[in-house]
């Protein structure tokens, strides 16, 4: 039937158009993802042949104090960077959004610069700021009578240094998302509040914050995932040290794979991370669907 032929021709064209992307995505993401699961059941160091060991990688992972340590370091990092960078991002968005402010575009651009620069270069620059003898940060702190801190070599401070960079790098991004959210809030709400003589703080609490909640949720999940994946700053500046104080989960994964060549074990860590990410994402879907009903 000619009817069939036309449909088939369109289908064929469709497959031709999508296949290059489909092939690369499957080959370089799904296949490795599947292989991660597979390899996680083997002992393998690339040199000797793979050996099936069942759930051994997972059991040794969950009984390894190093693993739990890296997980807890990561969660401390997340617990600090998420709220702080969201708070500052929101603050910047509110400031840049002030109706009478001139040069909005320029401020927005300058706040955004850290986002587009690479973390590797940023880490090199920050290492200089954290320098303990003549670093800029200790110099500023000395104004307040704080004695010089060995930011990168003191186990008490290295993770704080990582947090500072992480926050600095992300606030511009969060600001832009909040700015987009702020534009969606109808002006009439504020005008009505103005007529009632509400203070700016009252307006924020009763209008901005509740109406911004879908954005806030989105920013939170994005920031959560980004913080959870912290890697470059650690890799460039501290390599997990000193005394494992910055041994975040991604770096733990990296070391097991490429320093100790424990590929099966590293794959098990990947799988664990993947499951966590999926849970975060599902939580976001869940919440954002609920939001839609409320609005």
């Amino acid at each position: 039937m000619p009817f069939m032929r036309r449909r088939t021709r369109e289908a064929l064209a469709g497959w031709i158009f999508i296949s290059p992307a489909l092939v690369t995505q499957v080959l370089f993401i799904y296949f490795p993802l599947g292989w991660s699961f597979f390899v996680s059941f083997f002992r393998w160091n690339l040199i000797r042949p793979m050996r099936y060991i069942g759930f051994d990688n997972y059991t040794s992972m969950f009984t390894s104090s190093d693993f739990w340590h890296s997980l807890s370091v990561t969660f401390v990092y997340v617990a600090v960077t998420v709220p702080v960078s969201i708070f500052i991002g929101l603050l910047l968005a509110l400031l840049v959004n002030l109706p009478w402010l001139k040069g909005k575009g320029a401020f927005r651009t300058f706040f955004y610069v850290p986002v587009i620069t690479s973390m590797a270069a940023a880490a090199v620059i920050w290492a200089w700021i954290f320098e303990s003898n003549v670093g800029l940060l200790n110099y500023f702190l000395s104004w307040f009578g704080i004695k010089s801190i060995n930011w990168l070599s003191d186990p008490n401070y290295a993770l704080v240094a990582m947090m500072i960079i992480g926050i600095w790098k992300r606030i511009g991004y969060n600001m832009v998302l909040f700015l987009a959210g702020l534009q969606v809030i109808p002006r009439t709400y504020y005008e009505a509040a103005d007529i009632d003589g509400a203070t700016p703080f009252k307006k924020f609490l009763s209008i901005t914050w509740p109406l911004l909640s879908p954005t806030t949720l989105f920013v939170t999940v994005m920031q959560f995932i980004a913080s959870f994946r912290v890697f470059v700053s650690v890799s460039v500046m501290t390599r997990g040290g000193p005394a494992q104080s910055t041994q975040v989960i991604t770096f733990y994964l990296y070391e097991n794979a490429f320093a100790y060549l424990k590929f099966g074990y590293a794959a098990a860590i990947s799988v664990f991370m993947f499951v966590l990410m999926i849970i975060f994402t599902l939580i976001q879907f869940r919440f954002s669907k609920k939001r839609v009903h409320y609005l």
């Binding site: 270069a121 460039v236 794959a267 990947s270």
Partner: protein, 276 residues
């Protein structure tokens, strides 16, 4: 009409905003200042915010210590190649997914966009093993081929294509244009803003890429700038002036580039909200 607050409120708020802006950009300012300082000035206390004389020798010095030129070229080459390939493959896929009807299309869309949920760390190990087995380690190929398409780009372009009126396409069909002709003469020219936005994201993301070249390349001939520059930190003997000069070479071009395209870039984020 909204009333404008008094100067007593506006001026302090301006000061706050400008101060935060300076603080946020202080690392870059400090980087530039240091990059032009003479080695002996660096350790003066209190720190000085202007160099005695502009010393360009630090840049030469940095280039001597690591093959900066090569790294920069590699990054440019890789980021441009990835961007060009993604322009082609992503727009192809997006066209198929938005404009052609066939069975399983929605499933394919889910499969392609589902990769957004897979962070690169998760596939790092097996991907490394795959490219190693393919003998691709230490090459441009290994830096480019795995990234020929991206879920983000496909998603962005598909949304844009869906907004192009179907009647335009039908007008072209009735005039005798085939799928390919329509794609190149109608869809692509009309999608310039989206293609441009996607290219900016892709270029900057791959210029800044660190983890993958760290893992897949060890030969300096193919190394990219972000990994290259991190070698500066591990070597303790390196001078801070050299480090900052190298950082400046890495960061300043992209910042200048960003200033030119920031409007589209930042608006792209607000629309898609997907990528850094």
């Amino acid at each position: 009409m909204r009333k404008i607050p008094s100067l007593w409120i506006r001026v302090p708020l301006y000061i706050v905003i400008i101060t935060i802006m300076l603080l946020v950009n202080l690392p870059f300012i400090w980087m530039l200042v240091t990059a032009f300082k003479h080695e002996s000035e660096v350790f003066s206390l209190p720190p000085r915010f202007y160099p005695d004389f502009f010393d360009f020798r630090n840049f030469a010095g940095a280039m001597e210590q690591i093959p900066m030129g090569r790294y920069l070229f590699n990054s440019l080459f890789v980021a441009l190649s990835v961007t060009l390939l993604q322009l082609v493959f992503n727009s192809f896929a997006a066209y198929g997914l938005s404009r052609l009807r066939f069975k399983g299309r929605d499933l394919i869309f889910l499969i392609l966009v589902g990769t957004l949920m897979v962070p690169p760390e998760v596939t790092l190990v097996p991907l490394y093993i795959i490219v190693k087995n393919l003998g691709m380690i230490d090459s441009y190929r290994v830096l480019i081929i795995p990234f020929m398409s991206s879920a983000f780009g496909i998603f962005l372009l598909r949304q844009f294509f869906l907004g192009i009126p179907r009647e335009l396409e039908e007008a072209a069909i009735i005039d005798g244009a085939g799928r390919v002709k329509i794609f190149f003469t109608i869809i692509l020219p009309l999608s310039k803003p989206a293609l441009w936005t996607m290219s900016l994201f892709t270029f900057i993301a791959h210029w800044n890429e660190y983890m993958w070249p760290l893992v897949s390349v060890s030969d300096p001939k193919y190394q990219m700038i972000q990994v290259g520059i991190s070698q500066f930190v591990s070597g303790w003997e390196t001078r801070w002036t050299y480090r900052m000069a190298a950082s400046a070479l890495t960061v300043v071009p992209i910042i200048i580039f960003f200033f030119f395209v920031q409007k589209q870039f930042v608006e792209g984020i607000s629309v898609s909200g997907i990528k850094e």
